[in-house]
């Protein structure tokens, strides 16, 4: 019997669940697949509705982890096996090698001298990264990770003999005893290559909303300057296409909760950088739940932003890397062909478990959302359960922590 708790996923919901449970006196293990904690929110430039930086809240979460020895986390780690039952599980975790010293070393100079590069997952394909890298300035833990596959032969020579690099580090396996499990595996942006009528990812300067976050981010590939990826030009005419994949039974059979608010936020990014830029938002419904309507009011007050209720039927490449949209205005009943400097697809969120499978007894629905597991002491939190924004993910993570605590209490 164990009163420890396993949290699968170190994004905002998982962090919240882990920290809240640990601050109630439980030992908690976080198992995170990527090399750093923070998940999707770490990629965002700002949060709606306050337009405040996500690293602000993450920093507090990381401080709470630093101060609390009850929280242990494993990065580059995956749950590979589970035996036992509620209250008494044995979890097998496989940890991929980081290939760097287990303490902080400033590799920035060394990394910059390496030749080998790979496409940056963190920058969603908008930039390359070195083989030795930290995904972002606030990366936590602040320790570089080495991707040997991206090293060139001369890179290997350069690294040979470095006392803080170990190219031969082997994978590790650990076994954890826990009484309850929180699954906070989160989401990924819906793959635009599935959206054939919206260019299927092949139209230049037609980007996803998550890519827009990277362009706007002070530590993104353009240091926060929103420009066209193809030529670095400042966009003057921009369109947002809402529900790119969402609310469509052929793609995502639900509303992704955040895309309308994300677009309004991104309108604010653009208005700040380009006060004269003209923006059009094509939507089915503008979903601004609760007090978020205030954000809509603010954006609507701008004469340069217009909202058109209508469906975008086609996205194709125009002249000079522009993007041509075919739009049906649902109110006027008109069909229009319009050209933009840049188009943002408000792509929806797909639960990570839509494709990846976990070796845990948690049933998922046809979209990949978790719909059970509670009787086994396994609780879903955040976007693994349903599409949510950050505030509601925090709420959901806290709720899941309580359920996990109830399961292990007194054991």
């Amino acid at each position: 019997m164990s009163n420890s708790i396993l949290v699968v996923g170190g994004g905002f919901s998982g962090l919240t669940a882990a920290i809240e449970a640990a601050e109630l006196g439980h030992d908690v293990y976080i198992v995170e697949k990527s090399p750093f904690l923070g998940g999707r929110v770490a990629q965002l430039s700002k949060y709606f509705p306050k337009l405040c930086p996500p690293s602000c809240g993450l920093e507090i979460q990381f401080q709470r982890i630093r101060k609390n020895p009850r929280i242990k986390f494993f990065t580059q780690a995956e749950v590979v096996g589970l035996t036992g039952q509620k209250g008494n599980y044995t979890v097998n975790v496989a940890i991929a090698p980081r290939h760097t010293a287990p303490h902080n070393v400033d590799f920035s100079f060394l990394a910059s001298t390496l030749e080998g590069e790979a496409t940056s997952e963190f920058e969603l394909g908008l930039a390359k990264r070195k083989a030795l890298y930290c995904s972002m300035p606030f990366a936590f833990p602040g320790r570089y990770v080495l991707d040997p596959a991206a090293l060139t032969q001369s890179d290997k020579v350069k690294l040979a003999g470095n006392q803080f690099v170990n190219l031969d580090e082997a994978p590790k396996a650990v076994e954890l005893s826990v009484g309850a499990i929180v699954v906070a595996t989160g989401w990924k942006p819906y793959d635009v290559t599935h959206l054939s009528n919206l260019g299927a990812g092949s139209v230049k300067n037609c980007i996803s909303n998550m890519q827009m976050e990277r362009l706007a981010s002070p530590f993104g590939p353009t240091a926060g300057k929103i420009v066209r990826p193809s030529d670095g030009h400042a966009p003057q005419r921009i369109a947002f296409v809402q529900c790119a994949g969402s609310r469509d039974q052929n793609h995502l059979n639900y509303c992704s909760y955040i895309c309308c608010m994300a677009t309004l936020k991104q309108c604010a990014y653009l208005a700040e950088q380009y006060p004269d830029a003209k923006i059009t938002v094509y939507y089915i419904d503008l979903r601004t739940p609760g007090r978020y309507v205030k954000v809509l009011d603010k954006v609507k007050a701008s004469p340069n932003v217009s909202f058109v209720k209508g469906k975008v039927a086609d996205v194709v490449q125009g002249a000079n890397d522009s993007v041509t949209l075919q739009v049906e205005d649902a109110i006027r009943g008109e069909k229009l062909t319009l050209s933009y400097d840049m188009v943002v697809l408000a792509t929806g969120m797909q639960p990570s478990l839509a494709e990846a499978k976990l070796p845990l007894p948690v049933p998922v629905d046809e979209d990949g959302f978790i719909i059970g597991g509670e009787e086994a002491g396994i609780f879903a939190a955040g976007c693994a359960r349903m599409p949510l924004d950050v505030m509601r993910s925090a709420q959901s993570g806290t709720a899941a922590a309580l359920k996990a605590v109830q399961t292990v209490k007194g054991r």
């Binding site: 405040c52 639900y254 609760g290 605590v405």
Partner: protein, 755 residues
């Protein structure tokens, strides 16, 4: 007070730009017996065992780690029974010191590093391990409100092993959920209405031996602190006092006044009602209508309300002064009288958009169920506000024969004899039309109970209500996206529609979360540690009452209302209400408040430890930067890391919050000869980012007084300034520092320098 400090230099993280051996020698020479162990390590992280051995052998009581930022490798340097302090020689010194490779700039870097190390030694010397102020936490949760959220909270707190006292104002449990026996989906597959299960929920509460239910009861008073609150409950006219550890506030909402919807026919046409009332009619089987329109577009009402608001604002102006004078006279006689401002407004209608869209779907389904689909429900919306997974419920309802939905701008709702006519424009059908129905159902505005009343009745120095509720239009919400449960009153956690309008499934989840926070707060009080955001902190403010002049500044300025006072004005600390920001000691002109490991003398001593050169022209100015450790300090780390250095004349001291900055530190800096003081803190205003809510704003107010004082002393007030820095503005912050240094350089030396 650390008296035997081991000082360790981490060569690997400091790099080659500094003569570390010389620095170690400086420490030995200057501090002597205070630092019996001074070592330079090639890789400090690899020498943790050696440090522990030194601690044991040399009986060290402090360890000073000089190397990377304290935000790095926190887990490597945990030594039991010893105070550990970090000197940031990497990110905020070697990487941050703007140098040009010349001999003089190497000297400037060495001076900066030396100052930081000496400041670190003094910091430890003036720091004690805090003894936690633990209280025997009462493991009983007070749940206020017996509706859907409150019932869930009570059941869950009990299931976690806590006693519960549930207080409900009305004679029966269930709240508004009583009117929704068939509710919107509460679980997967999220497609159809379902039984709420309210009766079973209530029965579970009544049969739970851990839960005491009081109906016809309200909270008359909450006093004390988390872990040992005393709640006075008024039950059916009689008072009871109950010790409780923490509170879940789930008092929900009341329907908005009908008058806001008059322009849409409510109260004028008998066939027009609103969701909450229609829900009761449905429940009781009293709906005779066959054609019902749910009108979700409330533009008509909003425009009318906005116009009325503007008219009222115009009319109000003349008579104000006379009333003010009267109020003041009364205050002088009896002290300030609390008057609750009614925060209800037409905005609550808009904030209830999702709840009403979901309610329209729910009621349309119930209506069709009751009549075997032989009726027609119309839902007329501007935007169907069904975010997230409930889209599936929306989709499923679209397929229902009896439900017709269309987008439209509703321009009029009028009596048309035997029926009501709803004028619709800009529809998706390509034409405008008048819809004739038997009944029109308008949205209900959810007005949080806390917009109307001070429901908790805090017996606190700062008054019975939550402060600044107008920022959230009366909702007891957190301003934090990341930390939704934080209120301004420690130990009281809001859940459900009193926090935000939310659907039943979200209310349930919210109740779970609030229960966790409440329990966590009791346990934290029991261990004598702080809750969010300095969770686990064992320090707390200690008052030296002998010197207190009862000026009341600390009790008035605490952002959390943690301090009470007696008739004379002597503060009464409540450690379990305290968040440990230090705003109280920043306020105190007599400097009687301190934390064991963070206090006025400690920071003042660090300031005095900086070597300020006498010759401003030759050796440059010195600038003190007091930086908020939550946002500004990490931003400075990032700047250093990203090779964005700043002036070698700056010296940074992290503070818990700018609210904790005491004016004496500025005086200390000025008399020491510093030429300027920069305060770097979080954004303030309505969208504040300060983790202690008011700290940076209060600091800015105090700054005005400080500047005035300086002015009287003949020091230019421009020498002290505050700057707002968000955590991601690391590329800007070096420029802010350099511009300030340039400003000071232009001003010339501090007139007190060398005196």
């Amino acid at each position: 007070m650390a008296t035997r400090i081991g000082v360790y230099f981490d060569q690997q993280n400091i790099g080659g730009g500094l003569d570390v051996a010389a620095m170690a020698e400086q420490v030995r020479g200057k501090w002597g017996d205070l630092t019996p162990v001074v070592k330079v390590m090639p890789v400090l992280a690899a020498a943790v065992e050696e440090i522990q051995a030194d601690v044991d052998a040399a009986k060290l009581d402090g360890v000073l780690v000089c190397g990377a930022s304290p935000r790095r490798d926190w887990d490597q340097y945990r030594f039991s029974g010893v105070q550990v302090e970090r000197v940031n020689l990497r990110e905020q010194c070697v990487q941050a010191c703007k140098t040009d490779g010349s001999a003089s700039s190497a000297t400037l870097l060495a001076l900066m590093a030396q100052d930081y190390v000496n400041m670190g030694v003094v910091k430890l010397q003036k720091s004690e391990v805090p003894e936690p102020a633990a209280i025997a936490g009462v493991r009983r949760i007070l749940v206020v409100g017996g509706g859907w959220t409150g019932l869930t909270a009570a059941a869950q707190a009990s299931q976690t092993g806590y006693e519960v006292v549930l207080v409900e104002k009305s004679p029966a449990l269930g709240g508004k959920a009583v009117n929704m026996p068939r509710t919107s989906p509460l679980k997967a597959p999220w497609t159809s209405i379902q039984d709420s299960g309210l009766e079973a929920k209530i029965a579970g509460i009544k049969n739970d031996g851990n839960i005491t239910v009081h109906t016809k009861a309200t909270v008359a008073k909450l006093e004390g602190q988390p872990g040992e609150f005393t709640a006075t409950i008024m039950v059916d006219g009689a008072e009871q006092t109950i010790p409780v550890g923490a509170v879940v506030l789930a008092t929900g909402w009341v329907p908005m006044q009908g008058s806001y919807l008059e322009s849409m026919g409510l109260g004028k046409l008998p066939q027009v009602t609103h969701m909450a009332e229609f829900g009761v009619m449905l429940r009781d089987g009293n709906v005779k209508a066959r054609r019902v329109a749910f009108v979700l577009d409330t533009t008509l009402a909003e425009e009318e309300a906005a116009a009325a608001y503007a008219r009222a604002a115009n009319d109000e102006q003349p008579e104000a002064p006379a009333a003010k004078a009267g109020e003041q006279a009364e205050e002088e006689l009896e002290g300030p009288v609390f008057v609750k401002e009614d925060l209800e407004s037409y905005k609550h209608l808009r904030y209830s958009n999702t709840v009403n869209s979901v309610a329209a779907l729910r009621m349309a389904n119930v209506f069709c169920d009751q009549n075997n689909d032989a009726v027609q429900a119309f839902i007329i919306y501007k935007d169907m506000m069904i975010p997230g997974i409930l889209e599936r419920f929306y989709k499923e309802s679209q397929n229902r024969l009896g439900i017709m939905m269309t987008k439209a701008d509703v321009t009029a709702i009028q009596d048309a004899g035997s029926h009501v006519s709803v004028s619709c424009e800009n529809t998706l059908l390509g034409l405008d039309f008048d819809l004739d129905v038997d009944m029109v159902v308008l949205p209900t505005g959810l007005v949080p109970t806390t917009a109307k009343d001070a429901v908790m009745q805090f017996a606190y120095r700062q008054g019975p209500d939550f402060p600044d509720l107008e920022l959230f239009d009366g909702f007891t919400d957190s301003n934090y996206i990341c930390f939704p449960y934080e209120t301004r009153r420690t130990g009281v956690y809001a859940a459900g529609c009193v926090r935000q309008p939310m659907t039943m499934d979200a209310c349930e989840e919210d109740a779970y979360g609030a229960v966790l926070k409440a329990i966590q707060c009791v346990e934290s009080a029991d261990h004598g540690v702080a809750v969010h955001p300095r969770s686990g902190d064992t320090s707390y403010p200690v008052f030296n009452f002998v010197r207190c002049t009862q000026c009341k500044r600390c009790t008035e300025e605490c952002p959390f209302g943690a301090l009470d006072d007696d008739e004379k004005g002597t503060p009464k600390p409540n450690p379990a209400r305290c968040r440990r920001c230090g705003t109280c000691f920043g306020a105190c002109p007599e400097r009687v408040i301190s934390f064991a490991n963070y206090n006025i003398d400690q920071i003042g001593s660090m300031i005095r430890e900086v070597q300020v050169p006498k010759d401003f022209r030759k050796e440059g100015p010195r600038i003190l930067i007091l930086a908020c450790e939550n946002d500004a300090y990490p931003a400075l780390d990032m700047a250093g890391m990203r090779n964005k250095p700043w002036s070698p004349y700056a010296r940074i001291i992290p503070v818990r919050c700018l609210g904790s900055v005491n004016a004496i530190w500025v005086s200390d800096a000025m008399s020491k000869g510093f030429d300027g003081v920069m305060l770097l803190g979080c954004k303030y205003g309505d969208d504040y980012q300060c983790h202690f809510i008011k700290g940076s704003e209060i600091c800015n107010r105090r700054k005005e007084n400080i500047a005035e004082t300086l002015n009287r002393l003949g020091v230019e007030p421009e020498r002290v300034d505050q700057f707002e820095v968000a955590i991601d503005e690391y590329d800007k912050v070096p420029g802010i520092i350099d511009a300030f240094v340039a400003r000071i350089t232009a001003l010339g030396p501090n007139p007190f320098k060398g005196m």
